[in-house]
Assembly symmetry: C2
Homo-oligomer: 315 residues x 2
């Protein structure tokens, strides 16, 4: 049997036919066009599913289910998508709408949860029952896998790990609270601190790297300079890693996963990031002499969205 | 069938015979005498089990298993109790030692986890699949119940919710980190802040309530004055509730339970505490228009240890 996975984002839709091992057999994609409203977007999603299926050389009879990863959540009580800010969606009947086009079971999951499931099936957390996937991007998202299954909680609002408050009274977050972890552990945090530092120190290497145009400072600017040994960038990166580790330790103290997989833009810092995390984390975990989660880099990159969405139906 | 539950604490041991509904049929207890080492303590635990059984009028044939709640954890890899600070235990073979005396399956769980299980079986969280029990005592402990089962994680170190860092760089914790939630949400935190305030304001109502002997300030001193409308105590209590809610919101964002049950000394503040929490929490949760955990008072009090330990074998 095969599973179709759809990765629905604010700019693009991707669909893929995935086998039982989590390997993509064929893909198709198109722009989202959110301004059209949910009807045409969902029609396009169905079209992409059939397009990918045709490319794969398989038929609908061989498809068990369709899974959709969305930048939001589905309310398990109503079966509706209550809101997706990026899509402008509000109380959208995604499942029933999708089934108008293809008569297969449809599963919906949060995009970070789905990426975590992909890593658990076919990525760095494969073979491991309990894992947490952490995306370090514009924000911080999380995918919790417990005993091989994605965990979203009874109301579907679990795994909002980026909005775990770690610095009470700290930076104001988009959610209205202060001190959410994502204000300190996202790529956005590195950019903010890099710009702040460069503003105060116009002669620093960070400012020079962008020719004085501080708006051009990216997370990569700071990370690359830290890698190259620039002491200011190294200090900013070290501070970032401390905050990252605070949240990771909280995840360990609460979920005790076997693996924490780091994905998203910041994870492209690779072994440099892992080394920094592994230098700090052991002193911060509660049970210092007991085994605890290994921190690893996620492996599936952009395909995680399709694979994980598809695997929602395999659970 | 019946289940025997043992509540092993630093000062006393309690054992009880519990039926399938989580009701205690008979109890027995004795002092722990930790200074004797683990051998005699475990022998006493077995003796109490048989004593409670005899009192209950039932026989060992009717007992399915023995469960033990400990102020520590069991390492699922070794089956040993790696350490219990309160008991001076280090790598103790609790299960095998216990089975020398009574040939029944023996299950071991953390005391807060076990109390959470008790509330889920016979207390405020009965009938609810996913709940979190939070003890607000000297420290802050947690019992995570997912789909009716206690969740301790693959290494057994999950649910150390009191050591979730919420105030990076804050108060130094016994665990070596700074800003752990229990530094702000425990009874100890209320006492600390109450004493600090009374020291700075010797004429305040808190200082007067203890006749100027600030060592006598308890959490109850501050809470009772807050209840009575003293503005200083109310301010301290309000600050406490804010920190409490930070952790509760983190639990909601991570576990999304149906119920969060508050137990431990501070929970004796009762409806006054619940009202204060429910006034703050709605503004702090991430998904403001979605249903989320109800916060309730735990119901089983001191019996939770016996009931929950017993129920370890019913899962």
């Amino acid at each position: 049997m095969f599973y179709i996975g759809v990765d629905l984002g604010g700019t693009g839709i991707k669909a893929g036919v995935v086998d039982e091992k989590g390997e993509i057999r064929a893909k198709a994609s198109c722009p989202t066009g959110v301004e059209r409203g949910y009807g045409p977007v969902i029609a396009d999603m169905a079209k992409l599913c059939l397009e990918a299926l045709e490319k794969s050389g398989h038929t609908l009879d061989e498809v068990k289910s369709i899974g959709i990863g969305i930048p939001g959540i589905q309310d398990p009580a109503t079966g509706l998508v209550p809101f997706c800010t990026n899509l402008g969606w509000h109380q959208v009947p995604l499942v029933s709408e999708m089934r108008k086009y293809i008569d297969k079971p449809v599963y919906v999951g949060n995009d970070a949860t789905v990426a975590g499931l992909a890593e658990a099936v076919a990525g760095v957390s494969a073979g491991v029952g309990t894992s947490v996937f952490v995306t370090l991007g514009t924000g911080v998202g999380g995918g919790i896998i417990i005993d091989g299954k994605p965990y979203s909680g009874p109301h579907g609002v679990a795994s909002e790990i980026g909005h775990m408050m770690t610095v009470v009274g700290g930076e104001l977050c988009t959610c209205g609270n202060r001190g959410c972890w994502e204000r300190y552990a996202s790529a956005t945090a590195i950019i903010r601190e890099g710009r702040k530092f460069a503003e105060a120190h116009p002669d620093c290497a960070i400012a020079k790297a962008v020719g004085g145009d501080l708006d051009k400072i990216e997370a990569k600017t700071v990370i690359d300079l830290a890698k190259a040994g620039d002491p200011d960038a190294a200090m900013l990166f070290d501070n970032y890693v401390t905050h990252l580790c605070v949240g990771l330790v909280n995840l360990i103290n609460l979920y005790d996963p076997e693996i924490i997989a780091l994905g998203g833009g910041v994870s492209h810092a690779g072994q440099f990031l892992l080394d920094a995390v592994n230098a700090k984390l052991p002193q911060m975990v509660f049970y210092k002499t007991m085994p605890y989660a290994r921190v690893e880099l996620a492996r599936l990159g952009n395909d995680a969205g399709i694979i994980g969405a598809a695997m929602l139906g395999a659970n």
